[in-house]
């Protein structure tokens, strides 16, 4: 469906590309400065672009009544929501991952750090979608809820941001990054196990 309405997934992706490409203009084009702050730039921008896409997570389905049909379906609601979250990741997380090596290069990241950056994105962008699904279910039906969504979701995104940027930064100094990757993997597993169920409860409550 999103492929037939490309703006829904192209907008966050364009935001990701444009925001990152503005940093060298605003801060410094020097390779040393940029490569130092590159992990933070990429990860903060990635997080914000995912956040940007979350407003539309249930919005259209709610407005046209398809969400009601999902909720009353005899099929497992958590399973439907998991499928929807995977679709969200395929259209937001995956394009970001695919573009990140190119954007990493523009920020003068070394090949090894780009590899770690892609690895952290691969491990953590699904968590962003899963946690985002909870927030999106809570704000269903609330008008102009962008700020509320940010307030609900950003605190839950902070650990991911810390571990992911720390992993990329440490890789630049050839320090071990296993701990950060394990943390990101455990956050992914926990959100994978809980998010569909919590989202289903939140969605039913929001629609009631």
């Amino acid at each position: 469906m999103s492929l037939r309405n490309p703006s829904s997934f192209l907008n966050p992706l364009l935001f990701f590309v444009i925001a990152i490409s503005l940093f060298p203009l605003a801060i410094s084009p020097e390779s040393h400065t940029l490569s130092n702050i590159a992990p933070g730039i990429v990860w903060v921008t990635c997080m914000l672009s995912v956040l940007l896409s979350l407003n539309a997570f249930f919005h259209y389905d709610y407005d046209n009544g398809v969400l009601e049909q999902m909720v009353i379906s005899h099929h497992s609601l958590p399973l439907i929501l998991l499928a929807k979250t995977i679709a969200h990741w395929l259209l937001t997380g995956l394009p970001i991952i695919l573009l990140s090596p190119l954007l990493g290069m523009t920020l003068f990241l070394e090949a090894k750090s780009i590899y770690v950056l892609v690895l952290t994105l691969l491990l953590a962008t699904p968590s962003l979608s899963l946690i985002g699904a909870i927030g999106a279910s809570l704000i269903v039906g609330i008008k102009n809820s962008g700020m509320l969504l940010s307030l609900l979701i950003l605190p839950l995104y902070i650990p991911i941001l810390i571990f992911a940027t720390s992993a990329v930064s440490q890789s630049q100094f050839n320090l071990p990054i296993n701990a950060q990757l394990y943390f990101l993997a455990s956050i992914l597993l926990i959100s994978l196990m809980t998010s569909p169920f919590v989202s289903a409860i939140a969605l039913k409550t929001s629609l009631d």
Partner: protein, 200 residues
């Protein structure tokens, strides 16, 4: 044989009590029309019956299966006020998705169902390009496919012309003749046999 039992149902929205201690039973073949003034709780009652909203108190069951259970949700087919169509999908894709979410069978193909409601050759038309009446027809064509026993239809005749209303009334009658149950709200006159009315 199917049996829908509603006992002691109460509903409150905000500080307003819409209805309380509402009880009724519907057996196979029966059609219940819920009538009442605007805001009397017709849609709320249907949403509660569909398992979409929760009641303050009371019990609901279809053949002893409680609301929210797999069997209960399999038995109901609910169409609300909203079109339940995604504008980015074709009519046929929308209908397929809608029927996949409820119990359906392939007795009647999606194309035939669309033909029945006068939308032949509209299979590959985007829902966004349809008029309000045509959108309603696409959704209602699901009635030709679904195998759910209890139909809950909220204002099914809205935006339909007289021909469309006849088609849907015939389908509802056929469903009830085959042992189904139908609960509907409408402000229009309907030509449905064995129609019971519940006024809220």
């Amino acid at each position: 044989m199917s049996k829908l039992i509603v006992s002691d149902l109460s509903c409150q929205r905000g500080y307003n009590e819409l209805f309380s201690n509402l009880s009724f039973e519907l057996n196979s073949g029966e059609i219940l029309k819920i009538s009442g003034a605007n805001g009397s709780g017709k849609t709320s009652l249907l949403k509660i019956l569909a398992g979409l909203n929760s009641a303050e108190s009371g019990r609901l069951s279809i053949n002893n299966n409680k609301a929210g259970s797999y069997d209960y949700q399999s038995d109901i087919f609910y169409l609300g006020h909203l079109p339940a169509l995604s504008p980015e999908l074709h009519c046929k894709e929308n209908l397929d998705y809608l029927t996949q979410l409820s119990i359906s069978s392939s007795n009647q193909s999606l194309n035939d169902a669309l033909t029945n409601v006068g939308l032949k050759n509209f299979e590959n038309e985007y829902a966004a390009n349809l008029s309000a009446g045509q959108k309603r027809r696409v959704v209602l064509s699901a009635l030709f496919i679904t195998q759910s026993k209890v139909w809950l239809l909220d204002e099914p005749f809205t935006a339909l012309d007289s021909d469309g209303i006849n088609v849907i009334e015939t389908q509802i009658t056929k469903h009830c003749d085959n042992g189904g149950i139908c609960v509907l709200t409408t402000h229009q006159k309907c030509n449905l046999p064995s129609l019971r009315t519940l006024t809220l």
